[in-house]
């Protein structure tokens, strides 16, 4: 307990504010004026931080950030304002369970610094100070503790494998940015292992750090501006399932997934609409029919080419063309139909599906729609390939799933149309052949 007393002991406690200025000017700066805690913080910096992370130590010196700016509060409150209560309980448990020497807080302080070293080393003085005065809330408190324990007793506690946030380039070298090792990465090691021969020489660390210094400094200039903004969202650089979060591949995957969902939603919506239209009584109110037309119109907006215009390689004029899919043993055939009069993008699409086989088409409802004088030439089959124009990057994670779902829908649909023979389908215009297993997803060929 004796060492922790020094956090609070102030040598020249002054009773009256009127004297203080006079008294203190004569004292050595740093020592004495702030009590023992300042000297203790200095020794923490020189004895622990310099040994564990020389680069960070030098960097803080260079920025003229003494530990006491934040360290006083950290130590005096035993990190009470730096962690949420549940995390704090873990910290305090460790501190009070450690030993009578009460050295653990000093090491926790250093471990906390090292934990955010990537942020600190990339920041200017003001940003650094902000990080230190408002310690980030999303740090892994267990990792900090394990690292602190290791520094305190290297023989007894194994070094956590991800104690340092190193900067490593992507394995494939595809991502040019730097990706800190994910801090949520699970650490398979347990901290309380039997003594292990200490294999981590500090010389090796310093060598590695030196490498990082040069690397960082070159990247610093380019990254710092962006970094400030990115730091707000702490996990911007995190790695998820093998992809860095900003990776192009991942974004493409997500985009394709979104397009798939939209296409499926559109298809289903269309089939439901046609079901309704087939079943509404002939003397329905005009509002009802208008509402249906409105839904139809919305279906048109769900067209992938509308939603993701950048990815559309075809000019928008082609929107009247619709695609359908047929599956061969190895190929998907995408058929496009065009409406009879071809005049409207009103895009009223009907899409019979398997569930809809039993409904009668035409006859009953067709006159009704004609009566309303609305966009009743709705025979465009609006089914399109969802990923038609998406980047050709293979998405093996999603591909299988998507193909299955789409094939199910498309197949049943195609069969429907063939068997039911929709009256207004004029001609088959396009057959788009897709090789499902190749990287490039589509080629189109026209057959009339």
């Amino acid at each position: 307990m004796s060492s922790i007393e020094s956090y609070y002991r102030i040598k020249n406690f002054l009773q009256s504010p009127t004297h203080c200025a006079v008294i203190d000017d004569d004292l050595n700066p740093g020592m004495g004026t702030g009590g023992e805690i300042l000297s203790q913080l200095n020794s923490i910096r020189e004895k622990i931080l310099a040994k564990e992370d020389l680069h960070l130590h030098n960097y803080l010196l260079k920025l003229d950030i003494p530990l006491h700016i934040f360290g006083i509060r950290w130590l005096r409150l035993l990190f009470g304002r730096e962690f949420a209560l549940l995390d704090l309980l873990i910290i305090w448990d460790a501190i009070f369970a450690d030993s009578d020497h009460f050295n653990l807080p000093n090491y926790i302080l250093v471990a906390m610094l090292i934990r955010i070293r990537d942020k600190l080393l990339l920041s200017d003085q003001t940003t650094c100070l902000t990080y230190l005065m408002r310690y980030p809330t999303n740090v892994d408190v267990n990792l900090i503790l394990r690292h602190a324990l290791h520094m305190l007793q290297p023989k007894r506690f194994e070094r956590p494998s991800n104690a340092f946030v190193y900067y490593t380039s992507n394995k494939q070298g595809a991502v040019k940015g730097i990706i800190p090792i994910s801090r949520k990465a699970s650490d398979p090691e347990t901290s309380y292992k039997s003594p292990k021969s200490g294999s981590h020489s500090s010389g090796e660390h310093i060598y590695r750090m030196d490498e990082q210094i040069t690397k960082l400094q070159t990247q610093n200039a380019a990254n710092s501006a962006a970094q400030f903004r990115r730091d707000v969202s702490e996990d911007a650089n995190a790695v998820a399932e093998g992809y860095s979060k900003n990776s192009l591949d991942l974004i493409n995957l997500e985009l394709q997934n979104a397009q798939t969902i939209i296409s499926i939603a559109r298809t289903k919506l269309q089939s439901y609409i046609s079901t309704i239209k087939n079943n509404i009584p002939g003397n329905s109110s005009k509002e009802l029919l208008q509402a249906l037309d409105g839904i139809d119109e919305l279906c048109g907006f769900l067209d992938v080419k509308f939603v993701f215009p950048i990815h559309a390689t075809r000019p928008p004029i082609d929107e009247a063309l619709e695609a359908n899919e047929q599956v061969n043993s190895k190929k998907s055939l995408w058929k496009k139909y065009k409406s009879n009069d071809g005049m409207t993008l009103a895009g009223v699409d009907t899409k019979p599906m398997a569930s809809h086989e039993s409904h009668s088409v035409g006859g009953k409802h067709r006159p009704v729609l004609a009566d309303t004088n609305s966009i009743s030439e709705f025979t465009i089959n609006a089914y399109e390939r969802p990923d038609e124009n998406v980047s050709a990057t293979p998405s093996h994670l999603l591909r299988g799933v998507r193909e299955i779902e789409l094939l199910t829908i498309a197949t049943s649909e195609y069969v429907d149309e063939l068997t039911e023979g929709q009256p207004n389908i004029a001609d088959i215009q396009n057959v788009i052949t897709t090789t499902t297993n190749s990287g490039t997803t589509q080629k189109s060929q026209f057959s009339k």
């Binding site: 203080c20 740093g30 004026t33 304002r81 501006a225």
Partner: protein
């Protein structure tokens, strides 16, 4: 680092001083977050806040150090005076004792900062008119005698908070324009935007203007 695009032209360093409980942290919070912080915890050592403001079309980053008012921290907080371009000296208009201590705070400030440091006196809690113990006139007189700028403000309502910080910045900027502040001296509390690689103003050792600021 230094070649990164900077979104400001200057950094001004401020300190906020004054007795315990006068509302220093609340003033800072009101200024940086535009919110009143009820149940503000005790400041341990020092707190820190930044905000970018504009003076004469120049973007100025204010780096504000909010010190602890408790007497026991006095020795520690003293080290933050060094290199402050502006000092906001705060008292509580509803507690005369905080006003009576101003002279000692002023002595500290004068001793530990450079002569061009702009000192701004703020009478906080101006919303609590009913329990006022220090009149505006009295404080104004004190400010004039000592060449301080003065405003009564309220961190609760936000009244005059912006003004106090901005007026201080304008005064500092004026000092720069008139050549009274040496931008290269670390003591000035003003940093120009770094222009050369590898140079940060704080580590750029310039001749000290005052020897007693050795901490």
């Amino acid at each position: 680092m230094s070649s990164a695009p900077y979104n400001y032209n200057y950094i001004f360093k401020y300190i906020i001083i004054g007795d315990m409980g006068v509302g220093k942290s609340c003033l800072l919070h009101q200024f940086t977050e535009k919110k009143f912080m009820a149940n503000c915890p005790h400041t341990i050592g020092v707190e820190f806040g930044t905000r970018i403001i504009e003076v004469d079309d120049k973007k100025i980053k204010l780096q504000i150090w909010d010190t602890a008012g408790q007497e026991r921290f006095r020795a520690v907080t003293r080290s933050y005076y060094r290199g402050a371009a502006g000092a906001l000296m705060v008292y509580d208009i509803t507690r005369r004792s905080t006003y009576n201590h101003l002279s000692s705070w002023l002595t500290d400030t004068r001793n530990l900062t450079n002569p061009n440091t702009v000192i701004f006196l703020i009478g906080n809690k101006s919303d609590l008119e009913s329990t006022r113990e220090v009149t505006y006139e009295e404080a104004k007189e004190f400010a004039d005698e000592n060449g301080l700028m003065f405003l009564e403000a309220s961190a609760m309502s936000g009244q005059n908070v912006e003004e106090a910080f901005l007026e201080t910045a304008r005064k500092i900027y004026q000092n720069i324009q008139e050549g009274r502040l040496d931008l290269n001296a670390s003591e000035s509390g003003v940093q120009h935007r770094p222009s050369q690689p590898g140079r940060t103003s704080l580590t750029n050792e310039a001749p000290n203007t005052k020897d007693q600021c050795s901490c």
